[in-house]
């Protein structure tokens, strides 16, 4: 991905910053300029909201044929996580075997390296998830 395209969203990716619609109170991540429900009523009323970082597994898979930049990690577990605020995201689920993953499992987000353009190239960071219980 082109550097500016990644850079534009660094804060959201690194810190899990979404937005709250001050018209209806709904939280969104990634950030949206207008609330899809309130539309024009929400314009310029979307304020930053930092996600707490905890959530649960909605669905998951184990990827055996990744894109080239993720080959070193293959096979790995991907999941859709519902954050406690109700928003959903897609990310790696680490430190757990696929066979042990199940819907509803509590997880926590952490910033990790996602990839690198080349050995000396730009490193991409972003959130990954790991089971909450294992970390206590």
């Amino acid at each position: 991905m082109a550097i500016p395209r990644f850079w534009r969203e660094i804060r959201q990716r690194y810190k899990g910053i979404g937005v709250e619609c001050k018209n209806c109170g709904e939280i969104f991540f990634p950030p949206r300029d207008i609330c899809p429900e309130c539309r024009r009523e929400s314009y310029q009323k979307m304020e930053e909201y930092e996600l707490k970082g905890t959530g649960e597994v909605v669905t998951y898979t184990k990827v055996y044929e990744p894109h080239p930049e993720f080959k070193d990690l293959s096979p790995y577990v991907m999941a859709i996580i519902e954050m406690d605020e109700g928003v959903r995201v897609t990310g790696h689920l680490v430190d757990i075997d696929y066979e042990q993953v199940e819907r509803g499992m509590k997880v926590e987000a952490s910033m990790r390296k996602l990839g690198q353009d080349s050995p000396e190239g730009l490193i991409y960071y972003g959130y990954k998830f790991w089971p909450l219980d294992n970390n206590e």
Partner: protein
């Protein structure tokens, strides 16, 4: 709005067509369609081409005028329509609207994709660009894995099994074995499908449609002019389109294809019929799970019944409803931009009772369902036998 018929159909073989370029594929399909319809090039008013990603796959944008030019029709307006995997179906929608509105009379609509000039890894990466690059793919998701997560959700929610997914592949390969244009015209069996290497749990290699080259084309005209041409007409009764979120994770119910439901609802309403009136359907089986979700969301079976219905053989050729008689994307092949048009070609062959060994008995209504990305766009067409 005028009634619209298809008077000509044409398609290339689907597969790894090393010796054919995109323009050759497009022209072959288009010329066959004009020939079938008995339409001369100078009668054509306009052309649409469904194509997903010629820019990335063969470094060529602006492919509609390119194909028109090499077909000897450089003077007509031609436009490419892109909607991911639904590019072909959406191109047909544009053509249908153009003729129905009275804007133009004779419209050629084609679909073509050349996927094997790049390597498999590259082609799969390009396919994944129809999902959300910035919030799905950059985090490690692949196109396959997004469908795999829909499959897992559907399994958890409704008890759908891997065996039931495998039956989709077995059925579609069986249908393709009766289709001379198919990429994989041979039977397979459940053990073989389930024993194939995993791509993304729970989907194995045989749960996924292949990468293909190929093209298909149709000639449309107003029903009132159908008699002027040689081709046996088939009526396009209605069309419906629908949308959904670009990212799978944004969907409240990950086991439902909402764009498909929305498109189907409109198409049924406009045709003034219900799902029960449909005799056969070509549905977007880019993965086995997609066919199971599609036959539910198109209203052929209740939610959660898609898997059991498939396993019980209720979607086989000349059973309760014949699904993917062509072999579908799974076994006929998946030249992405051509899919929606190729589905319509099958519908016309069936309604002309011209489908040979895979003929549905005495069909009146056929439906095609074409989907883009992980389901963010969908388009449904309903066809009727001409009388």
């Amino acid at each position: 709005m005028r009634d619209v018929v298809i008077i000509g159909i044409g398609e290339t073989e689907f597969g790894e067509l090393w010796d054919k370029s995109l323009r050759e594929i497009g022209i072959e399909a288009g010329l066959k369609a004009l020939q079938d319809g008995g339409v001369r090039g100078e009668e054509v008013d306009r052309m649409y081409i469904g194509n997903m990603s010629a820019g990335k796959l063969i470094d060529q944008e602006h492919v509609a005028p390119l194909i028109a030019d090499y077909a000897g029709l450089s003077h007509i307006p031609s436009t490419r329509v892109e909607s991911g995997g639904a590019s072909g179906g959406m191109a047909l929608s544009e053509a249908y609207k153009t003729v129905a509105s009275g804007m133009d009379d004779i419209v050629v609509v084609g679909g073509a994709e050349k996927m094997t000039d790049v390597g498999e890894e590259e082609a799969k990466k390009i396919l994944s660009s129809t999902a959300d690059q910035e919030w799905e793919i950059v985090f490690g998701a692949t196109f396959d894995s997004l469908y795999a997560m829909m499959a897992r959700y559907h399994m958890d929610e409704y008890g759908t099994t891997r065996e039931q997914l495998a039956e989709v592949a077995v059925k579609n390969h069986s249908n393709a074995s009766k289709n001379p244009m198919a990429q994989f015209p041979r039977e397979t069996n459940k053990d073989f499908v389930m024993g194939a290497p995993m791509v993304s749990e729970p989907l194995g290699m045989f749960d996924c449609a292949p990468l293909s080259d190929g093209g298909a084309a149709l000639v449309l005209c107003p029903a009132e002019r159908a008699d002027e041409f040689e081709g046996q007409p088939v009526e396009i009764v209605s069309m419906g389109e629908g949308g959904d979120t670009i990212a799978v994770h944004e969907r409240e119910d990950i086991g439902t294809l909402k764009a498909t439901k929305r498109a189907a609802k409109k198409a049924y309403e406009r045709a003034d019929i219900t799902a029960e009136d449909i005799d056969f359907a070509e549905v977007h089986d880019n993965f086995t799970i997609t066919e199971i979700m599609a036959i539910e969301d198109l209203g052929f079976f209740d939610k959660g019944e898609g898997g059991p219905a498939t396993e019980e053989g209720r979607t086989r050729l000349n059973s309760e409803i014949s699904i993917n008689t062509s072999g579908g994307l799974k076994a006929k092949g998946r030249p992405v931009g051509a899919v929606g048009i190729s589905q319509a070609v099958e519908a016309v062959e069936q309604l002309r009772e011209d489908a040979g060994d895979r003929q549905v008995e005495d069909p009146e209504y056929g439906l095609t369902h074409n989907m883009g990305g992980t389901g963010a766009s969908a388009v449904v067409h309903i066809f009727r036998r001409w009388s």
